[in-house]
Each structure stands twice: as structure tokens, then as C-alpha cells.
């Protein structure tokens, strides 16, 4: 390794307090420089001064690069801590849930209802861990976004089933099953929000599909809870199609604002 380059690295980063992150950064720079040096020597360059200048030119602005590295490293460590928490915490969590479930069940003898605690615990666990991974995959390349979307959809459905079971068991009302149907609507909504937040390409196509797809369920839910009449509620489906048309028109109007016309520009 080029001794002069090590000195350069140390002097460039002298003002930064030494810690393990700085050490990792220095090590990464040293490894990268060593690889470059090995490659150029293999290629046929042996001039020490040129090699040094080349390494410096490839590793300029070290303090600035260190700031970026530190930010990324802290994020990576936070993620690793969360992963460890999920791995180690999950068995502990489930043992505690089972213990509480058994305790309450034995104490109250309400075995026909206490199983809801297990369902709730699974839902809370999935929504917490899943929520974390939705954010994590959303921050990655677009190819990974599909994983986020699947986790999100499953989370919404699981939660709606959990809510439905609670109502069904604890406070049933007529047509209680509409909660599950509502879950499907929420699933569409969640995916639409996800595609808007992550600025998915051609997300308008998602909206155009989701709105008419969700409208029959919306009809069923609203009529099921007697907000609308079954005889007139179907108009929601027509309204959904009209909303699609409005979205297309709105998008076209918005697009027209940014359509370049060379003749007008002149």
C-alpha cells in the first residue's frame, strides 16, 4: 500500500473524531486504493508519484465523502439493530403472548373468546415488522417495490380480518362481513397511496383499475351497513367509471400544461 496515500488519508480526516465508523471508512478507502494500485501495477504502471496522484484524484474530498459514509453507516446499523430486534424479539414476544393468553384463559375460562388475543398479537406483529420492511424495500430500487406492495396488501387484509373477528366475537352487528370487503377496498387504497408516495411510473393506470374494481365492494359495504339502498347503490359503480373519466381528463389537462409546442415557443 502506498504509504504516502495513507498519510494523505489520515491528514485529510484528522479533524474528525476517531471512532469505529471513521476506521471503517479509512479501511474502505485503503482497500479501494489498494485494489486500484494492484490493478495499475499489473497493467504496467510503476511510477510511485503518478500512482499516488491517481489515488488522490480518485479519493478527493474525503471529509465530504466521510459525511455521506457516516450517514449511510448509521442507517445501516439502525437497520441491523431492528433486524436483530425482530429476530430475537419475535420468539420472546410470542412466548409472552402465549403466556398471557393461557393466563387469562385459565383465569376467566372464556376459551371461546380469548383466542382473539393470539390473532391480535399476530396482526400487531405482522403490521410492525411488515411496516418496517415496506419502508425498507420502498427505499431500494424499483424492482424491490413489488415486495413492499405485497407485504402492504397482506397487512391490510390481515388487519381487516382481525377487526372482523373482533366484531363478530365481541360486538356482532348485521352484515358484519362487510369489514372484510372494506379491507379489500383499503388494500387498493393502500397500494394507490404507496404508488403515489414512491412516484411509481404510470401509476395512473393503477388508479384507473382500482377505482372501478373497488366500486362494487364499496357498493356492497355501503348497502350492507344500510347507508345506501341496494336498489340505488349500484350508481356507485357508474360514479366510479365517471371518476375514471375525470381522472383521465384531469391528467390530460395537466399534461397539456407541459406539452411543448415548438411553433408557440418561436
Amino acid at each position: 500500500m502506498n504509504e504516502k496515500f495513507i498519510e494523505y488519508t489520515e491528514s485529510s480526516l484528522r479533524s474528525i473524531p476517531y471512532d469505529d465508523i471513521l476506521y471503517s471508512f479509512e479501511q474502505q478507502i485503503a482497500d479501494s486504493a489498494a485494489a486500484t494500485e494492484r490493478r495499475v501495477r499489473k497493467a504496467g504502471l510503476y511510477d510511485e508519484n503518478i500512482i499516488f496522484d491517481l489515488l488522490v484524484s480518485e479519493h478527493s474530498d474525503l471529509p465530504e465523502k466521510y459525511t455521506e459514509f457516516r450517514r449511510a453507516e448509521l442507517k445501516r446499523r439502525r437497520e441491523r439493530r431492528m433486524h436483530m430486534l425482530f429476530i430475537k424479539g419475535t420468539p420472546v414476544y410470542y412466548l409472552a403472548v402465549i403466556a398471557v393468553y393461557l393466563l387469562i384463559s385459565f383465569m376467566t375460562h372464556a376459551w371461546d373468546r380469548t383466542w382473539l388475543a393470539i390473532i391480535t398479537a399476530v396482526t400487531v406483529w405482522y403490521d410492525t415488522v411488515g411496516g418496517w420492511f415496506v419502508c425498507e424495500f420502498a427505499a431500494k430500487r424499483r424492482a424491490f417495490h413489488v415486495i413492499s406492495r405485497v407485504i402492504l396488501a397482506l397487512g391490510v387484509m390481515l388487519t381487516s380480518v382481525c377487526v372482523y373477528l373482533h366484531f363478530q366475537m365481541l360486538a356482532p352487528f348485521e352484515n358484519c362481513w362487510v369489514i372484510v370487503t372494506g379491507g379489500v377496498i383499503l388494500m387498493y387504497c393502500a397500494d394507490a397511496v404507496f404508488s403515489a408516495v414512491t412516484k411509481q411510473r404510470v401509476r395512473i393506470i393503477n388508479y384507473l383499475i382500482y377505482i372501478p374494481a373497488a366500486s362494487p365492494m364499496f357498493y356492497v359495504v355501503l348497502c350492507g351497513i344500510r347507508v345506501l339502498q341496494w336498489s340505488t347503490g349500484w350508481l356507485i359503480i357508474i360514479a366510479a367509471l365517471a371518476a375514471d373519466v375525470l381522472i383521465v381528463v384531469g391528467a390530460l389537462i395537466n399534461r397539456r400544461k407541459y406539452v411543448y409546442k415548438p411553433e408557440e415557443a418561436k
Partner: protein, 426 residues
């Protein structure tokens, strides 16, 4: 040890798609009355290869997402030095070589030395960079050589950074960016007029035909252009159109289109953080008919090119469509879809521009001659390249063909030269 990978950018993929139409090599030849120091040249090349790792990378046509893999290299595999009595013949042979994208090196250099004279030849893969960056590369190489030889300054001054096509949008305002990114237009050539070459055969071999237009004619051409309100590019293009009608026997009332290369760097203010890459698009220049004489053809050519020159987003049409095509589907599927919508121009022109002899001097020794030219096109496609060095224009065409095609191309240059002289004296 894990090998470093580089993402394949949009233009890398697009030029890879062009494998059915041309060999994707860009060629450069510079002649000197001087023999450069081989050791210094090698040092400069190694440093430049380190600054642009794509030159020592192999392209992997991955079905999902293609990429470059960086490899180790030996300078002797890049630079060939040969002492010869026939430097021009050896240079011509070297220039028609092909570098497969899967090879570990994407650029080859050769120095042919004969007494006190030398010819520096470079062949590089167009997927790595276009003529615009190649000109910058060779200028930087010459300047770095001089600085190292005369002052001992290390040759590390080559731009490095992003190779993304999106750099062309960076200096736009939000509204301009939206407008430019809305230019979903298929700008492919629709013209079916062809350069009259023989049918393709497996016996075809690549060759480069070139013709030098002397300084006197070029200066006259420039002055005549000023008089007619035309640029040198317009003048060359008009001569190209007129010569095509004459050579191919197109009816004088037929409209002919030539695709002209546009350097998209005109949209980028600051190139300092830009790596070696492609920023070239094509615009379709048409004449509605030949015209009674070449001056009328020139009038139509100027009208056609003016239309593009007044366009704020010149050359940016079609980029969003290509980007969409490549980003929503895996690469293999995208390529098939893009192939359906893409039609390669049958007749094209690329005015690479001036090769500044001062910038290309090695320790004060300016190149005495030289040219740069585009890829070897496969029949029926042709590309006319033009470069200017010391006020002399070198027109060149790289074709994969037979002896008859060579004769046809030579005949075309005879007609072209005649028409350029007519234009110059107009």
C-alpha cells in the same frame, strides 16, 4: 475477489441494440511528424483507463438488467506499438478491427512508427462513449501526455462521474423538465431511400473510404455558406443530398431524408461531473425534392435544419419513450418491444466537427493529418462522417461490403467532391 460492476446506461443498451445495423466501433487516426515516448503514452493511457473504468469492462447482456464488469488489464493488450515501412496500410488494417462488447477491453490503441513519423490509431466501442466524448478524451490524452513529458504532471485530468442520459435534463427548470420528459415521440426515420450498395453477403468485409476536401475548398465553402446563410454542416448536407440523388438515381421530385447526429451536450451547462458516455441523438433532415440546382437543394436543407435549430428541445424527442421502454420491463422484453418501434436510418450523417490541432499536439508537435469516423455500417445502412483538421474536411464512410461497394462509395465521394466544389464557388 468480487469484481466491480457498473450499470448499463440507456445509451449503452441502445447501442447494443444497434448490433444488427453496425459494428459499434468509433475510429480515430492522427498522423504526427514525431514519435511519441511510448512509456509516457502508456502511463497516460493507464491513468485514463482508471478514470473511466468502462473502458476495461465487459458487457453482460443480462435478460433482466445488463451490466458492465470491470476487469484487470495489461497495457500491452491495449496499446500496440509497431515499427513498419507501411504505416498507413497497417493503420487502415487496425482501424477496421472489431471489439466485441463481451471482451475485457473496450478500447484499443496502436502506434505505427516509420522513421520520424507516426500514426496514432484508436478504436473504441460506441457503447462506452460517442464522438463528442471521444474528442474530449483524445484532447485530454494529448494534453496529459504533454504535461507529463514536459512538466512531470500526473495524467489524472479526465472527467469522471455519471454516465446517465438524464444529465441532459439537469439544467432545466421544473416546467422545462416536465415538457422535455413528455416528448414521447417516435423519431425514427421513415424514408425508404437507400444508398445504392450491392446486397449483403457473408463474404463482405469492413472497409473505410475517405476523401479529403482541401483547405482552400473548405474555406471557400465556409465563405459561400455565410453568403447563403448556411452553416458548414448545411453545406455538407446539401452536397450529400444532391450527390445521393445523382448517385442513386432518385427521381428529382422525390423527398429524401437524411438522419443527422445531434450532440445533446448542448443541453448540459456543466460537464465537469460527467463520465465518458453517449449523448447523441438523431434528427431527420429532409428535402421535399432535389431542386433544379444544388443551391435550391441548399435552400431546402437550410429550411429543414433551421426548424431543428429553433427547437429548444432539439434531439430530446424520443428519449422518454426509450426510457419508458427500457424501465418498465426486463431488458430482454424491452429490447424486443423497442425493436418493433425502432427503424434504423438507411442514410445518415454525423458531422463530428473540428479536431483542434493545437489541442491534439504532443509536446508541441501538431498532427499533420487525421480523422475520426463512426461505426462500420452493415448494408443497406450508411453513415457519412465528417471531421475538420487544419481547415481540411475528411469525409469518410465505413461499410461492410465488397469490392463493388468500395467502387460505389469512391464514386459517391467523387460526386460529393464535385458538388462541394460547385457549392464552394457559388
Amino acid at each position: 475477489m468480487k469484481k466491480e460492476k457498473l450499470p448499463a446506461e440507456l445509451w449503452d443498451k441502445m447501442h447494443y441494440l444497434f448490433r444488427d445495423f453496425n459494428d459499434r466501433m468509433v475510429h480515430l487516426e492522427l498522423c504526427y511528424d514525431f514519435v511519441p515516448d511510448i512509456d509516457i503514452l502508456k502511463k497516460v493511457i493507464i491513468c485514463f483507463f482508471e478514470k473511466a473504468p468502462v473502458f476495461h469492462s465487459s458487457f453482460t447482456d443480462n435478460r433482466i438488467s445488463p451490466y458492465w464488469t470491470v476487469h484487470d488489464y495489461d497495457i500491452n493488450d491495449i496499446l500496440t506499438v509497431e515499427y513498419t515501412n507501411e504505416p498507413q496500410r497497417r493503420a487502415d488494417e487496425f482501424l477496421i478491427r472489431y471489439i466485441p462488447p463481451e471482451s475485457e477491453l473496450q478500447m484499443k490503441l496502436a502506434l505505427f512508427i516509420s522513421g520520424e513519423k507516426s500514426i496514432l490509431c484508436i478504436v473504441e466501442n460506441h457503447m462506452c462513449m460517442d464522438g463528442g466524448d471521444f474528442k474530449y478524451f483524445i484532447k485530454s490524452l494529448c494534453s496529459a501526455y504533454t504535461l507529463l513529458a514536459e512538466k512531470g504532471i500526473s495524467p489524472v485530468n479526465l472527467r469522471s462521474g455519471t454516465r446517465s442520459f438524464e444529465k441532459v435534463y439537469e439544467d432545466y427548470t421544473y416546467a422545462e423538465k416536465r415538457m422535455a420528459k413528455n416528448l414521447y415521440k417516435n423519431v425514427c426515420a421513415k424514408d425508404s431511400h437507400r444508398f445504392p450498395l450491392t446486397p449483403a453477403s457473408i463474404r463482405d468485409e469492413p472497409f473505410i473510404v475517405r476523401r479529403k476536401i482541401d483547405e482552400n475548398t473548405f474555406l471557400q465553402l465556409k465563405a459561400a455558406g455565410k453568403k447563403h446563410g448556411a452553416t458548414v454542416n448545411d453545406m455538407l448536407l446539401a452536397a450529400y443530398f444532391f450527390s445521393l440523388y445523382e448517385l442513386a438515381g432518385f427521381s428529382e421530385n422525390e423527398s429524401v431524408t437524411v438522419s443527422c447526429a445531434v450532440d445533446l451536450r448542448r443541453h448540459i451547462r456543466d460537464l465537469s461531473d460527467e463520465g465518458m458516455t453517449n449523448h447523441t441523438a438523431f434528427m431527420q433532415c429532409s428535402v421535399p425534392r432535389r431542386g433544379s440546382d444544388i443551391l435550391e437543394t441548399l435552400k431546402y436543407t437550410v429550411q429543414s435544419s433551421e426548424k431543428f435549430k429553433n427547437d429548444r428541445f432539439m434531439g430530446l424527442y424520443g428519449l422518454p419513450l426509450l426510457n419508458l421502454g427500457y424501465s418498465i420491463l426486463p431488458h430482454a422484453a424491452s429490447e424486443e418491444i423497442i425493436k418493433i418501434g425502432y427503424s434504423n436510418p438507411l442514410i445518415a450523417m454525423s458531422n463530428i466537427g473540428i479536431l483542434d490541432c493545437k489541442a491534439l499536439s504532443l509536446c508541441g508537435h501538431e498532427p499533420t493529418d487525421g480523422f475520426m469516423t463512426g461505426a462500420v455500417k452493415y448494408k443497406p445502412y450508411v453513415l457519412l462522417s465528417a471531421t475538420t483538421l487544419r481547415n481540411a474536411v475528411t469525409l469518410s464512410m465505413c461499410v461492410r461490403g465488397n469490392g463493388e461497394d468500395k467502387t460505389i462509395t469512391e464514386k459517391f465521394f467523387d460526386i460529393m467532391e464535385k458538388n462541394i466544389k460547385i457549392l464552394a464557388s457559388s
